[in-house]
Amino acid sequence: MTEPLSFEISRQSAAAPRLPEAGVTGPDLSQVFAGDQLRANPPDLPRLSEPELMRHFSRLASMNYSISEQFYPLGSCTMKYNPVVNESVAVLPGFAGLHPYQDEDSVQGALELMWRLERALCAVVGVERVTLQPAAGAHGEWTALRMIAAYHHSRGDNRTEVLVPDSAHGTNPASAALSGFHVVEVKSGPDGRISLADLESKLSPHVAALMLTNPNTLGLFEREILDIAEMVHATGAMLYYDGANLNAFMGICRPGDMGFDAVHMNLHKTFTTPHGGGGPGAGPVGVKADLVPFLPTPTVERTNGHLKLDFKRPRSIGRVRSFYGNFGMLVRAYAYIVAMGGDGLTQASRDAVLSANYLRKQVEDDLEMPHEGACMHEFVASAHNLAPQGVRALDVAKALLDRGFYAPTVYFPLVVPEAIMVEPTETESKATLDAFASAIKEIVAEARSNPQALHDAPTTLPVGRLDEVAAARRINTYLQGLSEDPVLRWKRASK
């Protein structure tokens, strides 16, 4: 079942909602504004009654997979359960009703929460200070790189390159480029970890930073991290930690102790703020002492129990977002940290590693395992072994959807052909992991007996596989002015 668009359900006769009248004597729009300052044609918004609206969006909701209903083993995305208490605290009027330009005296509770969250995040990752301003992980990466650029600049050091491993998230090179750096790729060795020889050959006085995820996107801990840090620091460059995989070792070890100078965290991954179908998230950045002067403004400062926003930071990189970040997400993450405590966060990471290793073991005879040994919180398998049957990672992904599971991340990292990246997280039970492993076994068996069934999957969802090539062609036709169908939006058919 598909659902019509709100624009298609719209009825001209649907009454507008009842809203307050002005109740004062004031001018008409036409008395104040000239004709061409006013809107000539009303926007073509839908007209729906409230019951029609509620049913429309409820039907759309039923067409989604979500962590509240399905196992969501998306590698690198840390789709753990989102505790409902987080939602309850975020909507407290004492938080949700605050205007960002209220006087500091009237928002002491909000500032206290931000200050405590900063201290807690510092403790988890081992840094000096944290900015809570970035709205997402990529935004945090870019913020950190701006600080690193400012640091080098302040020393009269003009460094133009950022090193990024070939297994890195796409946001890493994109953030580096947006910060004005030239991106240089570092190769992975045969064991899936960064090649020290290749790193050595690319380090030079031009390098501003190495961006690293640890455990890397293959789920492997970079065992030689201390050597890597020493090599990077010896050339005067900084070490940047992509916190996408922080869920692997909270309470076990800390990026700061490994030698990382800047660390971003995804509150929507590690700290259970819900992902919202693609956001909002939050991407705080922690830094060591050398980078503190360059933090975005404002910071939250606490003196004698009084909290204030500090805007006077002359060496700051400036502001990276309006106001103080995604405050509502900060409240949720703080609630999670308070409820879990140091002991709970440590247990969460240990359980995440246990889940990943258990699941890996359950499917190691069914899929290829490109790397040996224990993994951390996620593992990468490969569907390469199904190639003789013409079955690809994408087919496995789609077949999982039919079996009630969201699909793992596929075709990433780029260094593994037919990659299937699985991150079960600590919040899944053994029974769920077993059920998922059974589904994989069933799919692999089907690849041998009836591969066509996998090419046809999914068959149980509102739509089957969508023809992206045809869609892209239609977009091209529109953008070239050869078609009226905009593809990227609805448009009323011209009469």
Binding site: P20, L60, V89, G109, G170, G277, P280, L466, K491
Partner: protein
């Protein structure tokens, strides 16, 4: 589970982590029950002072408005708020279709061809639009005309610095200008001559970027009507609570010719082999997960759930409802401005300029006035002198449909 894995203990799984890096425990308190968590955090919330909606006259980018109950009823559905970015379209049609509707609503409202799936906020939307212009015409200067929100300007500067782009305040673009950015109505609530600014940008071969108030577009000329190339803005007023500044939602729309320069996610229609229409992420070749360092932007996570709230809000309102709230704010603001101007010592800061529902007044002792109102339980106007040296004593007031006529009386009485 350890036995199944084939190890003796949990520590066997952590062998790759050097012993020297291991920590004994996190330096954090132990965990709490849900009840204790709730109490502790509620206690922090109770330390904040929340002013009633009806007595909030402060805007400056975040506004108190009526939020239909339907908004929270939809956004609190776990199927929406606990889903991930819709990488598997067949299992994410709800999110994808909702985004497609959001794109259409924003494109309609701004009267431009195509809108994206959302950005973080109004400030980063301005910055992303400027980057689009830079990529499009290869020029490296952004001209900011008039009173752009000061925080948007700061974010624009931070973004530009990384790319070696110069940001200049002024109204006269030159041959190096990639785009002219203006806000309509501006940060003080005043209307600018959007058409003239757009024409001057075009005459210099630059793009025109309009930063707009989405509610105002129910009545004021939309960017597409005066020829702007890119429209951006902050969508907080479309059904989102102030929440101390976030999360809210940025939006961006543009002319057809610029679609390939858009940052972030875009959703389009596609069909399955049975011809059923579905929705899918489109033009991904612009994005970081495909193009890496050559992407148009680094954005990955955006603000989908806030965009969903905005979609529910706009769908609830429809064209007539949206016009109604815009007009009510307009009428009340003009009524209030007249009454304030009649008070001794008060005058309009820019008597010759038009405004919609936010307006600047000048008074001798601005900060004292604001403090006095707070003592009377009113979140009074915004003192904009903090950002603009030349605006000493200038306070901006905002009226919306939540500031009922009695609230206006209370405000005026408190100032008399």
């Amino acid at each position: 589970m350890l036995t199944a894995i084939g190890v003796q203990s949990m520590d066997d799984l952590l062998n790759d982590i050097p012993q020297s890096l291991r920590i004994k425990a996190l330096d954090l308190p132990v965990g709490l029950s849900e009840h204790e968590t709730m109490s502790q955090i509620s206690a922090l919330a109770a330390l904040n002072r929340v002013f009633p909606d009806r007595l909030t006259f402060r805007g400056g980018g975040v506004y108190r408005r009526f939020i239909p109950a339907a908004v929270a009823a939809v956004t609190s559905k776990p199927e929406f708020y606990t889903a991930y970015t819709p990488y598997q379209p067949e299992a994410s049609q709800g999110t994808l279709q909702a985004i497609f509707e959001f794109q259409t609503l924003i494109a309609e409202l701004t009267a431009l061809d195509v809108a994206n799936a959302s950005l973080y906020d109004g400030a980063t939307a301005v910055a992303e639009a400027a980057m689009m212009a830079h990529i499009h015409n290869g020029r490296s200067e952004i001209v900011v005309a008039g009173y752009l929100h000061p925080e948007y300007l700061e974010v624009l500067r931070a973004f530009s610095e990384g790319r070696g782009i110069k940001v200049r305040k002024g109204t006269e673009p030159g041959s190096k200008t990639a785009a002219v950015v203006f806000q309509q109505p501006d940060f003080l609530g005043l209307l600018v001559d959007a058409r003239a600014l757009t024409e001057s940008a075009h005459a210099a071969g630059a793009l025109a970027i309009a930063c707009v108030d989405p509610i105002s577009l129910a009545v004021l000329a939309p960017p597409g009507q005066y020829g702007a190339d890119i429209a951006v803005g902050e969508g907080q007023q479309l059904g989102l609570s102030p929440s101390y500044g976030g999360p809210h939602v940025g939006f961006i729309s543009c002319r057809k010719e610029l679609v390939r320069r858009l940052p972030g996610r875009l959703v389009g229609t596609a069909h399955d082999k049975d011809g059923r229409r579905g929705f899918n992420l489109a033009l991904a070749a612009r994005e970081q997960h495909i193009r890496r360092e050559k992407a148009t932007s680094n954005i990955c996570t955006n603000h989908s759930l806030c965009a969903l709230a905005a979609s529910v809000y706009m769908t609830y309102m429809g064209p007539d409802g949206l016009r109604q709230v815009a007009e009510v704010g307009f009428k009340r603001a003009h009524a209030l401005a007249e009454r304030l101007a009649a008070l001794p010592g008060w005058e309009p800061a820019f008597p010759d300029r038009q405004f919609l529902n936010e307006f600047p007044m000048r008074v001798a002792n601005g900060p004292a006035v604001v403090r006095k109102l707070a003592r009377k339980g009113i979140l009074g106007p915004l003192d904009v002198h903090r950002w603009f040296r030349e605006l000493k004593g200038v306070l901006t007031f905002t009226c919306t449909e939540v500031n009922d006529p009695l609230a206006l009386d209370e405000l005026v009485a408190a100032l008399s």
